[in-house]
């Protein structure tokens, strides 16, 4: 009787197992030629196994990273596996398929590298579900679950189609220009230009010529005619941001354009027609400015035909996870990175922060993190200093939050810096701080200081 002493799987048994899994699996030799290709790999790539075997893996896999940053080459060169990296491949029908890939080295019994193995998962369903969920909370480039925002989303198509002048009010960084863009893109003027002018950024002396243009000789440096923004936006939309900063003299000219649809470039006697839809925006309270006599009431009522108010981010914190997810994904695409998101400490810090800069501040914080975070999740120490210390972000305007300077804040900062300096080695950090390792662990837990990964 022959006693089986070797419990290792036969090649046939291995093949049966690999063909039964839902993830695609293939192996390559040291020349990156395919040496095995399971059934799921056939199904996801659309390439039959017999055609894949013996071919260069990039010609079978057709991934967006093959030339610039092949995961298998990275693994064979560095010895480090790639885990769940999101990429896309082209299937045999020319369709892009989103997948996540992981790689590992193949070694012989002497430890010599003989190739690599790559596993990949089709994320098409996940991606479609994500778009479905996001689609419910999305209008153009704006995303929100907030009730007030969704009220705006619901009426926006009608507002866009009406062609009426719109006034958008909201703090800096709340997305006023995005909303104006959405209105333009849904209007009958979407094929025309959308021109944005920040009235607060241009000196008043230049703003008039910027908006209405001028003819040669209108003033000393006017050597030739120049079209103004009203002319450039002809047939389209003109977005006037920070309209509350416009001088009284210019307010008169704007009123005339809005009422009579006519204007004259500087230095010209010729009257031009303005076929432009105006969307105005401000972060100031125009009604109060009218009462104070700093803004013309007739102009206010002329632009206040439809008024939309964008709430600040602190009043719509339920949108923070959606916005973070969206911004991280956009930045990953733009920078060819694979940041997976933010950890719990960052989530907590974001919820506790007041966001005086609103969504723009959120984007800046994440951009800062993208520079410092090498991969995986974003942690507190990747964010600007505002968000560090105990996992609670503060701002100078927040009540109940103290800026860095209390003894506890200083203690938390010292602990964090010591840990980073010692590469998160608690033994070394506690020795440097002169405290017990258990004490360090307790303080880390209390201040929300966590190592990366």
């Amino acid at each position: 009787m022959k006693i089986k002493t070797d419990n290792r799987l036969t090649p046939d048994e291995t093949s049966v197992i690999l063909d039964s899994v839902a993830d695609g699996v293939f192996t390559v030799d040291e020349n990156f030629t395919i040496t095995s290709f399971n059934r799921a790999a056939e199904s996801i790539t659309g390439v039959p196994r017999e055609e894949a075997m013996g071919k260069e893996c990039c010609e079978v896999f057709k991934a967006d990273i093959c030339e610039a940053d092949c995961a298998l080459r990275h693994t064979t060169r560095t010895g480090k596996p790639v885990i769940n990296r999101s990429i896309s491949i082209l299937n045999a029908r020319g369709e892009r398929v989103p997948i996540s890939v992981s790689t590992a080295l193949l070694k012989d019994k002497h430890g010599k590298i003989i190739g690599g193995v790559e596993t990949f998962r089709d994320l098409s369903v996940v991606e479609a579900l994500r778009q479905e969920v996001e689609g419910r909370y999305r209008l153009a480039d704006m995303i929100s679950r907030n009730e007030k925002m969704r009220d705006i989303f619901n009426i926006l198509p009608d507002i866009a189609q009406s062609g009426s002048t719109v006034l958008i009010e909201g703090e800096s960084g709340t997305g006023k220009e995005l909303l104006a863009r959405a209105i333009h893109d849904m209007s009958t003027r979407k094929k025309g230009p959308m021109i944005a002018v920040n009235c607060g950024a241009i000196p008043d002396t230049l703003l008039e010529s910027e908006l209405f243009g001028y003819v040669a000789g209108a003033f000393t440096d006017a050597k030739r005619d120049k079209k103004g923004k009203f002319a450039i936006a002809e047939g389209g939309t003109l977005f006037l941001d920070e309209i509350g900063d416009v001088s009284p003299a210019l307010q008169v000219r704007l009123l005339r354009v809005l009422q009579e649809r006519q204007y004259e470039p500087l230095g010209s006697n010729r009257t031009l027609r303005a076929d432009v839809r105006v969307i105005a925006a401000t972060n100031r309270d125009l009604a109060t400015l009218v009462k104070k006599g700093q803004f013309r009431s007739d102009l206010f009522y002329r632009i206040n035909v439809i008024r939309l108010y964008l709430p600040p981010l602190r009043d719509r914190k339920e949108d923070i996870p959606l916005l973070v997810d969206h911004i991280v994904r956009q930045m990953n695409l733009a920078r060819n990175r694979d940041i997976s998101g933010v950890d719990r400490a960052v989530q907590e810090a974001f919820f506790n922060h007041d966001w005086p800069g609103n969504i723009r501040e959120l984007e800046n914080a994440l951009e800062h993190a993208f520079i410092l975070c090498p991969g995986g999740q974003i942690h507190l120490h990747h964010l600007p200093d505002t968000f560090s210390f105990r996992g609670k972000g503060g701002s100078s305007g927040s009540q109940g939050e103290t800026p860095a300077g209390t003894l506890e804040d200083l203690e938390a900062k010292a602990i964090q810096e010591t840990l980073i300096r010692n590469d998160w080695n608690r033994t070394a950090a506690s020795a440097e701080l002169g405290i017990n390792k258990t004490t360090l662990w307790r303080k880390c837990k209390r201040f929300g200081i966590f190592p990366p990964g």
């Binding site: 790539t45 659309g46 390439v47 039959p48 055609e51 894949a52 071919k55 260069e56 990039c58 010609e59 079978v60 896999f61 057709k62 991934a63 967006d64 990273i65 093959c66 030339e67 610039a68 082209l90 299937n91 045999a92 029908r93 020319g94 369709e95 892009r96």
Partner: protein
């Protein structure tokens, strides 16, 4: 005629959308040819059709290409011969000799009886759900 062939390691690049080098070949009526390379490591795939047009390319020989991009390239009046694989020099010779499609120069997974031929292959179920390109 001005040909463009995306190249990677001396072979036709596997995915035109993400190729990093484009080889341009000018074929004169006297049979002489000139070639030069263009660095395509920067830029958005969505702009590639326009960039080909700006280079005055009239024929593209490529490997894999997404439905959307193939449609864009073809709409700009550029002939597209997709799903080609092989050494760049050999592929060019085969094209000039009128020997494409050649099953030996067809990417894995591409139907061999059709092979790479001009235009976006009809009936390949291209561009599902996008509403663009031939169906």
């Amino acid at each position: 005629m001005r040909l463009a062939v995306p190249e990677f390691n001396g072979r036709v690049s596997p995915v035109f959308d993400f190729c990093r080098k484009l080889v341009i070949i000018d074929l004169g009526e006297d049979g002489k040819s000139e070639r030069f390379c263009v660095d395509w490591s920067e830029g958005d795939p969505i702009d590639r059709a326009g960039r080909l047009r700006d280079l005055k390319v009239d024929t593209l020989l490529c490997g894999g290409i997404s439905c959307e991009l193939a449609w864009d390239v073809a709409r700009k009046g550029i002939r597209v011969f997709p799903w080609i694989s092989g050494n760049t020099g050999e592929v060019l010779q085969a094209f000039l000799a009128g020997k494409l499609p050649d099953p030996r120069m067809t990417m894995p997974g591409c139907p061999k009886d059709r092979g790479p031929r001009e235009g976006w292959p009809r009936g390949w179920g291209a561009c599902r759900g996008r509403g663009r390109g031939p169906r």
